[in-house]
Amino acid sequence: MTATLQVENLETQFPTRDGIVRAVDGVSFSVDAGEILGLVGESGSGKSITGFTILGLIDPPGRIANGSVKFKGEELTTASPERLRSLRGSRIAMIFQDPMMTLNPVLRVDTQMIETVQAHEKVSEKAARARCIETLQSVGIAAPEDRLKSYPHQFSGGMRQRIAIATALLHKPDLIIADEPTTALDVTIQGQILYEMRKLCRDTGTALIWITHDLSVVAGLADRIMVMYAGKIVETGAIDTVIERPQHPYTRGLIGSVPGAMPRGKRLFQIPGMAPAPLNLPPGCRFKARCSRADAVCDTMPELLELNPGHRARCHHPFDAKPLSPAEVVS
């Protein structure tokens, strides 16, 4: 079976006045139908740019310098703009982080949803509207006929995100890229939306890439997890394996900074230091400046190696594949 999405050695770069920013630097992964992949990393690690690259939505002068993106076997990096447009929003949908900003403030909700239906299918306005109402209902919006006539500012953040999600679902896509869609929402609504999205993927076989900087969000949601640091994947594997037996020091630090993963009374652990500047990356391991296990070997770039079946990490001194004890987290 071909994977829904197969990304090989993807490189996305932004030429700037001071040099080239390699926002995505040799990233490879795949997602199968019905599978949920959690993409985790700090701010600026290249998560959103990975998502936009898949959709072909990198604003010039940014460009895909290398690699391949195959959607159900079809190469997207060389596809025509029209072909990409026809896939976007119908077969591959994206949901953004800030629900306050994703809907156009001067257009009514029905305009914004119906145009999405009509961009991909020749249907009457009436039929399109009926589809919108149905989809809004499925994401838990009451009285959608009336609500459709409102403007975005008349909805709460949670409601707006539901509208954005419903818009993404209009064409029952094969792949949804959700870029931190619940970060701006309160915890209860976050939980509801996570639950609904998970159910939807299971029921319809939609592949889902869930981008977040918060490990605890994907812990209960994803099947597999992929940790990104400064444009590179540093660890990937099944969710339970990675969370219980992280091999990369960065992943271990991330888990340590999740509230609840620590014994009570201990101070919440933060990874010291900051991510390297994208224009000034060290030649070796990019995490070196913040890593307590670093030594001279780390001045060469480590490979992403499979240490246990299905579990890979990019580190010269990976942790043993044994469960994490609380004492180790703070070390």
Partner: protein, 309 residues
């Protein structure tokens, strides 16, 4: 408005004695007094002002010293010409300025975009009268394509004389409207470009693309509608200044509007007409800003009145 009426009244009173201009030098002292009496100019200033205010409140701004007709009638008679000129100039500056500014914003790194911006700097900095004279030189004198002055034949619609319904009318309108609209057009280009650059980076534009909309729809609906909010506001506010600026343009092109009447009246110290002009203009500005407010709320649902959040 009351403050302004005092200022204008006193200002013109101080400038000079209308009698000196109205009365021929050969007239005897007796003639002078007779004329002064008939125009009410023999009474002290405060009394003249009071008379003016009481009658102004009844809609009577007094008679023109020069034409012997009620001042307000003179103004209202000339108003359509000025309004037409200002509206056409505004219309032209929006129709030309918005697409150019939009293009310059969306493709800001291209040569064409830079040329547009350079052009807009020129449009800003060239003085109005100079542009008018140059246009006359080129299109009227050298090429002889367009008339240099006057309004030409007009058509009557609902009792108002207008030029824009006939081709000849447009020929007469073209140069003055261009002159008047040029700096506004430059302003709109810059505004459209700046907002376009801001709006195109918004998440909702990226989301519109992520939905698979065509570029035509993303630009023509999602971006354009957001740009039109500030454009409408500024255009409306600038319409007022266009009406005021029309004074210069109308003089250059002998356009028979209120602006030209104003200049003529100032030259003749025709006080009632000047005052009536200013009152009418202020009144127009108030109306325009009302219309802008209404349009603004139509375009931007967030400011719509009486809506529950």
């Amino acid at each position: 408005m009351a403050v302004m009426s005092v200022l204008v009244f006193v200002g013109i009173y101080m400038i000079g004695d209308p009698l000196a201009i109205l009365v021929s030098p050969e007239a005897t002292e007796l003639d002078r007094e007779a004329i002064a009496k008939s125009l009410g100019l023999d009474r002290p200033m405060w009394e003249q002002y009071l008379t003016f205010v009481t009658s102004a409140l009844q809609g009577n701004f007094g008679k023109s010293f020069v034409f012997g007709q009620p001042a307000i009638n003179l103004i209202l008679e000339r108003m359509p010409a000025t309004l037409e000129l200002a509206l056409i100039a505004t219309f032209m500056s929006v129709v030309i300025g918005v697409p150019l500014g939009l293009y310059a914003g969306l493709r800001h790194e291209t040569v064409a975009a830079r040329a547009i911006m350079a052009g807009s700097v020129l449009g800003f900095s060239l003085p109005n009268f100079w542009v008018g004279l140059m246009l006359i030189m080129v299109f009227a004198v050298q090429l002889g394509w367009l008339p240099a002055s006057g309004r030409g034949p007009t058509m009557e619609v609902l009792g108002i004389h207008v030029s824009f319904l006939s081709l000849t009318g447009w020929k007469y309108l073209a140069l003055p409207a261009l002159t008047l609209g040029l700096s506004k057009c430059a302003l709109i280009i810059r505004l459209a470009r700046a907002t376009a650059r801001e709006v195109m980076l918004m998440d909702y534009v990226k989301f519109a693309r992520a939905k698979g909309l065509s570029e035509k729809r993303v630009i023509g609906v999602h971006i354009l509608k957001n740009i039109m909010v500030p454009i409408t506001t500024v255009t409306g506010l600038e319409l007022g200044s266009l009406i005021a600026f029309a004074v210069i343009t109308e003089t250059i092109f002998s356009w028979p509007g209120m602006g030209k009447l104003l200049i003529d009246s100032i030259v003749h110290l025709d006080r009632p007409v000047v005052v009536a002009y200013l009152i009418v203009v202020v009144f127009l500005l108030v109306i325009i800003s009302l219309i802008v407010d209404i349009l603004y709320s139509v375009l931007d649902p967030r400011v719509r009145l009486g809506e529950a959040k």
